[in-house]
């Protein structure tokens, strides 16, 4: 009887193991920050601030995770986000409709996804080069649209932008005795919606399982009768669409567009996915892990800022150090597992 129970409990697979490590480290790190730094970290608002600031990064990382699970890479995501922000703002300032602006955002993302997917899966060009060209194109188009920073001037959009979800029971009492409720932006809701949709697709839909199969071993996926080309095509379309949504969310957060918007976002997104346990070789990864990866990355930055390391270089150096730590940890853990399997 006892043995039966033991047998039923399957060991964690690579994806789950890496994700568990990330979640544990995130929780430990946050608790340490609460205990040592106190200040803002004791309020629930800190978490909501992190979410508000990084909703678009979370969405982009989700798309990138899908591509990376399929064994590809998409480094155009940040540039596409920036292009979407700029074009939507210019459209809204000409007296456009908010709904049509959303459509425009989705359309731009979809267009990039279509072109990337076609070139990569049907013409068999290396994904790095194709999405690099996409990145150059999107960045160039952003400056062609406008070199000067733009600000949204649209009533309907402003009301949408200022709509915040207030959660009174997570708020805190300010010094003057008023209750300040925890505030969450609409973008965070969109981000959670995206995570759930992608999670369901990856875990319970045939398409999602095909992504894992294709990333794990393309040849065997082909032998199993999976349409590898179509699957890869779809992975880039998902990534493109999510970059479009991310652009809209970023616009809702900042309300302004700039040629250098979302600079370096692609590398942050890749870092988030890696910290969350996705492997660039494909076949291993999880969106829930990516979410915690993003949170870990941004929490580190927040901790560095609030722990009094004022010099501007410390933020990147500590981020790099943490990245190094996570990457080494993953490599060592996975290496040990492989050795065990062989033995």
């Amino acid at each position: 009887m006892n043995e039966n129970v033991k047998k039923k409990r399957e060991p964690l697979n690579d994806t789950q193991l890496l994700m568990t490590i990330t979640i544990c480290i995130f929780i430990v790190m946050y608790l340490l920050a609460m205990a040592l730094l106190k200040g803002g970290f004791l309020h629930a608002q800190q978490i909501f601030d992190l979410l508000n600031d990084n909703a678009s990064l979370i969405i982009v990382s989700c798309g990138l995770t899908v591509v990376m699970i399929g064994g590809g890479i998409d480094i155009s995501v940040g540039a596409v986000t920036s292009l979407v922000v700029m074009s939507c703002i210019l459209y809204l300032n000409k007296g456009g409709n908010v709904l049509l602006a959303l459509m425009l955002a989705l359309g731009i993302g979809l267009a990039f996804g279509l072109v990337h997917g076609f070139l990569i899966s049907y013409l068999e060009i290396q994904p790095f080069i194709v999405t690099l060209a996409g990145m150059f194109f999107a960045r160039g188009m952003t400056t062609i649209l406008s070199v000067n920073p733009q600000k949204v001037d649209h009533e309907g959009f402003e009301t949408l932008r200022n709509t915040k979800i207030e959660i009174p029971w997570l708020g805190y009492v300010a010094k003057n005795g008023n209750l300040v409720p925890a505030r969450m932006e609409l973008g965070v809701v969109i981000a959670f919606f995206c995570i759930i949709v992608v999670f369901v697709i990856l875990m319970f839909h045939r398409l999602g399982r095909n992504f894992y199969a294709m990333g794990g071993n393309q040849q065997s996926a082909l032998m199993l009768g999976i349409n590898v080309k179509k699957t890869r095509f779809l992975s880039y379309i998902i990534s493109g669409l999510l970059s479009g949504i991310s652009g809209f969310v970023l616009m809702m957060h900042t309300g302004a567009g700039n040629a250098t918007n979302a600079a370096g976002m692609e590398m942050n997104a890749i870092a988030s996915s890696i910290i969350g346990g996705t492997l660039l070789t494909g076949g291993v990864g999880n969106v829930a892990g990516t979410f915690f990866g993003t949170m870990t990355l941004t929490t580190i930055k927040k901790i560095v800022v609030s722990s009094g390391l004022k010099d501007p270089w410390w933020q990147s150096i500590t981020t790099g150090g943490m990245l190094c730590f996570f990457i080494l940890l993953q490599s060592i853990v996975l290496g040990k597992r492989q050795k065990k399997k062989k033995a």
Partner: protein, 356 residues
């Protein structure tokens, strides 16, 4: 005889087909647009030296850093099946060390420049070895391993400078960055030639080329044949480190100052692009350094052409992207196959017509 002629176009250029076609297309395009585009004139610079000037010179001169980085990047790509995305950041570090050592002495002489160069080179090689250790010993994919240095490299350079952008003014530094007295050819071009010859000699007198290729093609087979794969991978990163320091020093010398934010910005993407345009597979294995060098000049020629067409420097990227996509589509295996099939059909049709 006939068979030989038929084989010629296939075996003649091989891997170099795409870069050579790209150069030819750009040259023809420029000549049609402006017949005097490539004319070279001799002018006198501020120091009274007779120097060559013209678009062709500025293309060859401007691509120097990229060409040097492309050499190292080709090796890393071939050996590790991945790319180093930290070269720009590492070059900023090397440049900072170079300036720091120069500034520590009282005045800048030939000796201090050499000392500073050696220091910068060693630091860049150490960072290369760091990347290489992550890749070779811990089996981490190169892009992820170098993401670490990419994230924090420019900040480290900033930290070395102590939060400033120091300038160096010296005739020697000026000579490295532009023209040495008495030589009409830009100094960076000469440095590229020297580096290329050094690598040629390295490949000639050691079996590094074939070892790198075998590691890239099949790592396990290479190891079973007694090749130290870890060492070869590590070595490729260290050699890239050398290239990075040289490129960083050229970049610093050009401007006479070190700016950690803008020195060789986004050069990593261009260097990888140069490797790909050169017909090298980004998936490792066989490589041709000459292809990558031509690739670097193609990118610079494209940029200068766009500038000459009055495209603003911020918009250049969009047009560059279109040309890159066109190039890779022409080079894509699927398109090639289709094209060959089409040609065969046409030939068959023509033959059929002759018979009838």
């Amino acid at each position: 005889m006939k068979e030989n002629l038929k084989k010629m176009p296939k075996g003649g250029l091989g891997q170099l087909t795409i870069p050579v076609i790209a150069v030819a297309l750009l040259v023809i395009f420029n000549l049609i647009r402006d017949p005097g585009f490539f004319s070279i004139s001799i002018t006198h610079n501020n120091y009274g030296n007779a120097v060559l000037a013209g678009n062709l010179i500025s293309i060859i001169n401007g691509a120097s850093e990229l060409a040097i980085l492309a050499i190292g990047m080709t090796l890393v790509t071939a050996a590790t099946k991945g790319q180093d995305i930290s070269v720009g950041a590492a070059a900023a570090i090397a440049g900072s060390v170079f300036v720091k050592v120069l500034k520590s002495g009282a005045d800048i002489t030939g000796g201090t420049v050499i000392l500073a160069f050696i220091c910068a080179c060693i630091v860049a090689m150490i960072f290369g070895a760091f990347n290489g250790t992550l890749v070779a010993v811990f089996n981490i994919q190169p892009m992820i391993a170098t993401l670490i240095l990419y994230t924090c490299g420019r900040s480290i350079a900033y930290w070395i400078n102590g939060g400033a952008t120091p300038t160096v003014t010296s005739p020697i530094i000026n000579a490295i960055g532009s023209f040495a007295p008495g030589i009409p050819i830009p100094m960076p071009v000469i440095i590229v030639i020297v580096v290329a010859i050094l690598f040629k000699l390295l490949f000639h007198f050691t079996s590094l080329e074939i070892l790198t290729q075998s590691v890239g093609i099949n790592q396990s087979a290479a190891r079973l044949n007694g090749i130290n794969t870890t060492f070869i991978k590590l070595l490729s990163f260290i050699l890239l480190g050398c290239c990075v320091s040289v490129a960083g020093i050229i970049g610093v010398s050009r401007l006479g100052l070190i700016n950690h934010e803008t020195l060789l910005l986004d050069v990593e993407m261009d260097a990888i692009l140069a490797v790909a345009i050169g017909g090298n597979s980004l998936g490792g294995g066989k490589f041709k350094i000459s292809g990558s060098i031509i690739g670097a000049y193609v990118i610079q020629m494209l940029t200068i052409t766009l500038y000459a067409m009055k495209v603003s420097s911020t918009d250049v990227k969009a047009y560059k992207a279109i040309v890159i996509v066109l190039l890779v589509v022409i080079g894509s295996p699927v398109v090639k196959e289709r094209f060959e099939k089409l040609m065969k059909k046409r030939k068959a049709l023509l033959k059929g017509g002759e018979k009838a």
